[in-house]
């Protein structure tokens, strides 16, 4: 059964039709590459799933139940986690503090509750070990490499039982070695049965890690097929419009 199912989703901002009648479904343990040129509607689609704004038309379903989101926090409560393009990290805080930002662990009774540093360091360390990332929970994010910063942002999605992780351009602007690290992190999420939506401009990354590719152009879905049955040439054609639709 599909984890997330979108049916005839549209979104317009005034006269601008950003997303037009898109239907798609995402399965557990699957990596879906979402591709398209700038302005194709990828970000708008993702923001609706993330709860930033509601669709103008159409419905979203999660595990067969209707999903209506008003705020990003609600999306998180439903097990939808987002890794933002800018990673949304605070440089002045430690890796563990960033992982737990907005959902800090506390101990104590009633109103007298203090931050549980030990538990947060411990759990963050475990997640980094699971992700096979050399990231120290006590280090400031300021001093970290691009790959480590990605690991911190991805670690957030593993705090709760996430069902679906949306990653916005996770491999833009990092080094080749770090791209390989991030792709490994994505595989790791998939192996745990989490559905991953990878929004990317980078053809090699999508063909390396994704099981399926969805291509959008001018607000419409123009392709939705398995990686095995497609090719980078075909996807490039679909993105630019050289190939109309498959």
């Amino acid at each position: 059964m599909a984890v997330l199912e979108l049916t005839n989703i549209s979104k317009h901002f005034g006269a601008i039709q950003a997303v037009n009648d898109v239907s798609l479904s995402i399965e557990a343990g699957q990596v879906v590459g979402l591709m398209g040129d700038n302005g194709a509607g990828k970000s708008t689609l993702v923001k609706m799933i993330a709860g930033n704004f509601p669709p103008s038309h159409g419905t979203m379903q999660m595990d067969g139940k209707d999903l209506v989101l008003h705020k990003p926090v609600e999306a998180r409560q439903h097990g939808i986690e987002i890794v933002h393009q800018d990673l949304a990290l605070c440089n002045n805080l430690t890796a563990a503090a960033n992982v737990y930002l907005g959902r800090e662990l506390r101990r104590g009774v009633g109103p007298f509750r203090i931050l549980d540093y030990a538990a947060m360091y411990k759990r963050a360390g475990q997640i980094f070990a699971e992700l096979k990332s050399e990231t120290r929970p006590r280090d400031l994010v300021k001093q970290m490499s691009g790959g480590q910063r990605q690991a911190v942002a991805i670690a957030r999605t593993m705090l709760s039982q996430a069902k679906i992780v949306l990653m916005d351009e996770p491999t833009a602007a990092i080094s080749v070695r770090q791209v390989a690290e991030v792709l490994n992190l994505i595989r790791h999420l998939r192996d745990q049965g989490i559905a991953v939506v990878l929004i990317s401009h980078r053809m090699p990354d999508v063909f390396d890690v994704a099981d399926r590719v969805i291509v959008m152009r001018r607000g419409r879905k123009v392709a939705d097929k398995t990686i095995a049955s497609s090719s980078p040439e075909e996807v490039t054609g679909l993105i630019t419009g050289a190939i109309e639709q498959v």
Partner: protein
């Protein structure tokens, strides 16, 4: 032996000692201690009970306000209205008590005034997107003007039936001969330090100063927290105003004039970063102490008082210079 991933992750990069040496506050403490040692040797009048009593008490008013300011500065904001809010709170207290009300009502009115002003600043900044500098600059003018209106620009020095209680509150020394304002400062510094380090609220304040956008995206209630920090800053100014009223035994409408700059100087010397994301309670108190020691020593050494500003300004630049040097080294 190969280093495993787990060992790398468990490794602590900084020991307690290396962290202490790397902090600006530590070097300011050293500066204060050295200055005190030097003055004890160089003058007869510095290390006397009376002078030390004076210094510690004088530090407190700036220090208490600086504690509140620290919250605001960590979020990346600024509160220029604290001097005027201090004056207005004092005046509300004085006028209320002068009219015959008890000290409890006077203090309640004074605190309520401060909190209202803080909430007003905060709402304009957090919900309407006004720049903090502009809002609090406006309030600097408004609050002092209101203090003049409240008192008809007179000096209030009679505080009704509870006159003596108020003077004892600010001017007494109830424990071991330590001036009361010093006790309040220590208590408030402990509360501030605890809040910043051990509460979710404190953590979120640092997050907002580090990356406000990230804080919003991760579900931190950024707006509510911003309103809260401006209320805390105004509250600190109000508390300082009440204590100072009790200590001075009179309120004039120029009380706390120009104090905002001293307070900001104290927080910056103590290691707070005006760009946000950094600052400590201890730093604010130590910064205030350094300023007071400089002022006191110039007097004792017989240096013309006109030089005060130069020395305090120099201390601000020197403190930040240390920080810059450390950053240069880190970037290499």
């Amino acid at each position: 032996m190969a280093v495993t991933l787990d060992q790398t992750i468990a490794q602590k990069q900084h020991t307690l000692l290396s962290r202490v040496f790397a902090s600006q506050t530590f070097w300011v403490v050293i500066a204060v201690i050295l200055a005190c040692l030097f003055l004890s040797v160089a003058t007869d009048s510095f290390a006397t009970t009376k002078n030390l009593y004076n210094i510690t008490r004088n530090v407190t008013f700036v220090a208490i306000v600086a504690l509140g300011m620290t919250f605001v500065i960590i979020t990346g904001g600024i509160d220029l209205s604290v001097g005027s809010v201090l004056c207005l709170s004092s005046m509300v207290l004085a006028v209320t008590m002068h009219a015959g009300y008890g000290i409890e009502i006077g203090i309640a009115a004074s605190i309520a005034t401060a909190l209202t002003i803080g909430a007003f600043n905060g709402v304009l900044i957090a919900y309407l997107g006004f720049p903090p500098f502009v809002v609090t600059l406006g309030m600097l003018s408004i609050a002092r003007s209101l203090a003049m209106v409240a008192s008809n620009n007179t000096v209030v020095f009679q505080f009704g039936p509870d006159h003596d209680k108020l003077l004892a509150l600010g001017g007494g020394a109830w424990v071991f001969g330590i001036a009361n304002p010093v006790l309040y400062t220590i208590l408030l510094a402990l509360i501030t330090g605890f809040t910043l380090r051990w509460t979710k609220f404190g953590r979120h304040i640092f997050a907002i100063g580090g990356n406000e956008h990230a804080a919003t995206l991760t579900g931190v209630p950024v707006r509510q927290i911003k309103v809260a920090v401006y209320m805390i800053s105004a509250l600190a100014a109000g508390i300082a105003g009440i204590i100072q009223t009790g200590w001075l035994g009179a309120v004039t409408t120029n009380l706390g004039a120009g104090m905002e700059l001293q307070v900001i100087a104290a927080t910056v010397i103590g290691g707070a970063n005006l760009a946000g994301g950094m600052g400590t309670a201890f730093g604010a108190v130590v910064g205030a102490a350094l300023i007071e020691v400089i002022r006191n020593s110039l007097g004792l050494l017989g240096i013309n008082a006109f030089w005060q500003g130069t020395f305090i300004g120099g201390a601000i630049l020197l403190a930040v210079l240390f920080d810059r040097i450390r950053n240069f080294r880190r970037n290499d």
